[in-house]
Symmetry: C2
Subunit: 452 residues, 2 copies
């Protein structure tokens, strides 16, 4: 029979076991954090009817979609978790209690041009809070807390959550008489960090036709920096000139007010008037994040407030606020940077049980006992030399090997070899359980990421 | 703008939040069990190149595949987790340590005719142990233990794991001189339970042309029943007549020998000579399971030993043994039967924190404190009447509501309402943490299924 050379499609992440353990640990940490904040898990189909999935998108998105027919059905793979959420909320409206808080961690598909670090199948880890008719600003204020807690639980330390408000920006441009070009201006201003304020000024004049006074005002506005209190103070000087601006400022103040109570240190949170988020559907608070030592990653977690989630599926007004973590790309970059925690346990088992006698019953009983005590144990009984067995344990990174020979059995004990320390002890099964649990306690809870 | 009526494709499971929590709890219990037995998590792409995925299949399977082109690529959605495993092991052979033990819980796709309880997108929860060249029979013996532990962790109680061995059957038919039709005979004998031994006998005569003596021998063989010891004893009478049979009997004995040490009660394990599993690639031990009160479900967990996992991708001989749980269908049927555990916590939060004062800081601080203590808390601050807030908590099934009004704040306390008991207590935050943890301890660990 001819051999079919195995391959995995380019743009599709497929990890070796030890890295998969760390990826899964990240997912688990996010699940845990999202759950602590009162979000329900959600799982929607990967495949949806094309007419459902593609109502909203056009142009670029449409080209990237995996779309195909099966029988009479025109089908597409989801390209994000937001459109399926909109469908879900509209479809199950009568069965849900609002505000509806859900998290979803799942794969999405975009047939982008394949390039290093870009994926066609990737995980998004989203949370959203959806209101029925209205949604309190306290939900916007809580999002930075969730990002802070989520990132910290992963092991990230040096990051900052940047917040702005679209109403503040729209109101500001309205003050200048340029609200009809607010979107275009924001797109130019968004380049501030990359190209600097001078080039931004030139583009605003030349490309968009703004007068010099307006450009000066914009540059002055965007130059507002400092602590959150200082920025809010400076923004107060603009108050009273535009209603939308004032509303945006109130919202931004509300988001900042309870930071300390929410447990977010000021070091990890900054108002940043330059961010606007490209997506047109954000209407209020917007969030971005930055890993301070790896700005090239871009924003691994972004989101914001939107006025109406599901306008394509229902006439109900469903405002919401949410954030999304691009998990596959984040994992890829952290791995590239060598930031996966080397102390984390990544072996399939915590103990490799090696029977050394003909009768396997004692080894089987020991493995069963370890598992009952919550210790992951693998029985290994292949006809290999002792040295090969130990090198198997070594290759897997198994922290303990339990040897059961005639002598150990006669003494009612087990020879427990600590593969990290290189030591070996003769212990009763009970003692072994305690010793393993104590030794591994810290590594079991280890965060998947460790910054240098 | 016209409204697009939202819908989810038929054959695709989409759960409401409370059921999703229970489904996820099942997944989590399986992950935990598989991990305790020393299996690594694995995640492979949902999409593979068609030439990779379809090497093996033909006919029925091919028709069910979701296959499409994107650009120049001929792509298919995976229809099980075994073919991707074969590809993975062949592709990453040099990076893996053997035996390679992996679990994978993921969605697979089959465009079957839509019918009640049949799904086109469904979860499989698989484990496999893959050897390099050889694999010890102890791995076969461990599988029933894993099934037993996995099912028990879900909350299933009245089930039996049925085991047989293909070598035993092949050897037996060889004794009769019918080994060239063994596959056909097994397919007929497999209907024993449905149509009875008489009709099976007729089919063997009429359809397959077996002589009466052979049919009599088969009926006698298949009538071997009793305890495992009794069945093994009866099988001993056939020993010495065929080498393959003897080998199968040795294997079956080995699988049964350590049951008690593996922690499997004999009530939950039975040798059943009638099962063969349809798939042609099983070559030794085969497993099925049956929920005693719901035989119509069929076998929710099946599997077996195969000689060569990845013959299509590599010349290496990679024998393995594995089992697969059809999780989506199992969940669907258990739900239909009303077996989802009503005591399990399914609310998004364990505590709903209701601020009753203008300043939200104390409520925010309380929610933060609860979360730090590992309690899932949701802040609720929408402009609703008090009664509506409680009915929101009720609809979600939130077990506790924490009220923070002026009086409570002045006393440094919180009014904690137990929504199940209908009682209310004035407690300090520390006391509230303890009370909530104590009250919820049992429900937090609850199994997702409860048999009646």
């Amino acid at each position: 029979m001819p051999i079919q050379k195995p391959r995995t499609l380019s743009g599709f992440m497929e990890l070796l076991p030890q890295k998969q353990v760390l990826f899964d640990a990240m997912v688990e940490k996010l699940r845990r954090t999202y759950s602590l904040y009162g979000f329900s898990p959600l799982d929607t189909p990967v495949i949806e009817a094309s007419e459902i999935l593609l109502t909203k998108s056009g142009g670029e998105t449409e080209k990237q979609i995996y779309r195909f027919t099966k029988g009479d059905s025109d089908l597409s793979l989801r390209f994000d978790l937001t459109v399926p959420l909109a469908k879900y909320v509209a479809l199950h409206y009568n069965d849900l209690a609002f505000p509806f808080r859900r998290f979803q961690i799942g794969k999405v598909y975009r047939g982008e041009r394949a390039q290093r670090g870009r994926f066609r199948e990737f995980y998004q880890a989203d949370i959203d809070v959806i209101g029925d008719g209205a949604l309190d600003i306290l939900n916007d204020a809580e999002m930075p807390a969730i990002i802070y807690r989520a990132f910290t639980s992963l092991g990230l330390e040096r990051f900052v959550i940047r917040v702005n408000n679209r109403k503040l920006l729209n109101g500001f441009y309205a003050m200048l008489g340029w609200d009809h070009r607010a979107g275009d201006i924001m797109r130019v201003v968004d380049k501030m960090e990359k190209i600097g304020p001078e080039k931004v000024g030139l583009m605003l004049c030349d490309d968009l036709g703004l007068d010099e006074d307006s450009v000066g005002e914009i540059q002055e506005f965007m130059a507002i920096k400092g602590s959150n209190a200082q920025v809010l103070g400076a923004l107060e000087n603009y108050r009273g000139r535009n209603e939308v601006f004032d509303q945006g400022l109130d919202e931004l103040q509300a988001v900042c007010r309870y930071l300390v109570d929410f447990g977010v240190p000021e070091t990890h949170f900054a108002i940043d008037l330059s961010i606007a988020r490209g997506l047109d559907y954000y209407t209020g608070t917007v969030y971005e994040t930055q890993l301070l030592d790896y700005p090239e990653i871009g924003s691994p977690c972004s989101g914001g407030r939107y006025d109406n989630l599901a306008a394509y599926y229902t006439e109900k007004q469903l405002p919401g606020v949410g954030i999304s973590i691009g998990l596959t790309r984040l994992f890829y970059v952290l791995d590239e940077q060598g930031l996966l925690n080397p102390d984390a346990l990544t072996a399939p088992a915590e103990v490799l049980v090696l029977p050394m006698t003909e009768d396997l019953a004692p080894a089987v009983a020991l493995a069963t006992r370890l598992r009952e005590a919550g210790i992951a144990a693998q029985l290994y009984h292949e006809p290999k030399k002792f040295k090969q067995k130990l090198s198997y344990a070594d290759k897997l990174g198994v922290p303990f090997v339990a040897l059961l020979g005639e002598d150990e059995l006669a003494a009612g004990k087990v020879a427990l070899k600590d593969m990290t320390a290189g030591t070996q002890q003769l212990l009763t099964p009970e003692e072994a359980v305690v010793h393993i649990n104590v030794t591994l306690a810290a590594r079991r809870g280890a965060r998947p990421i460790r910054e240098k």
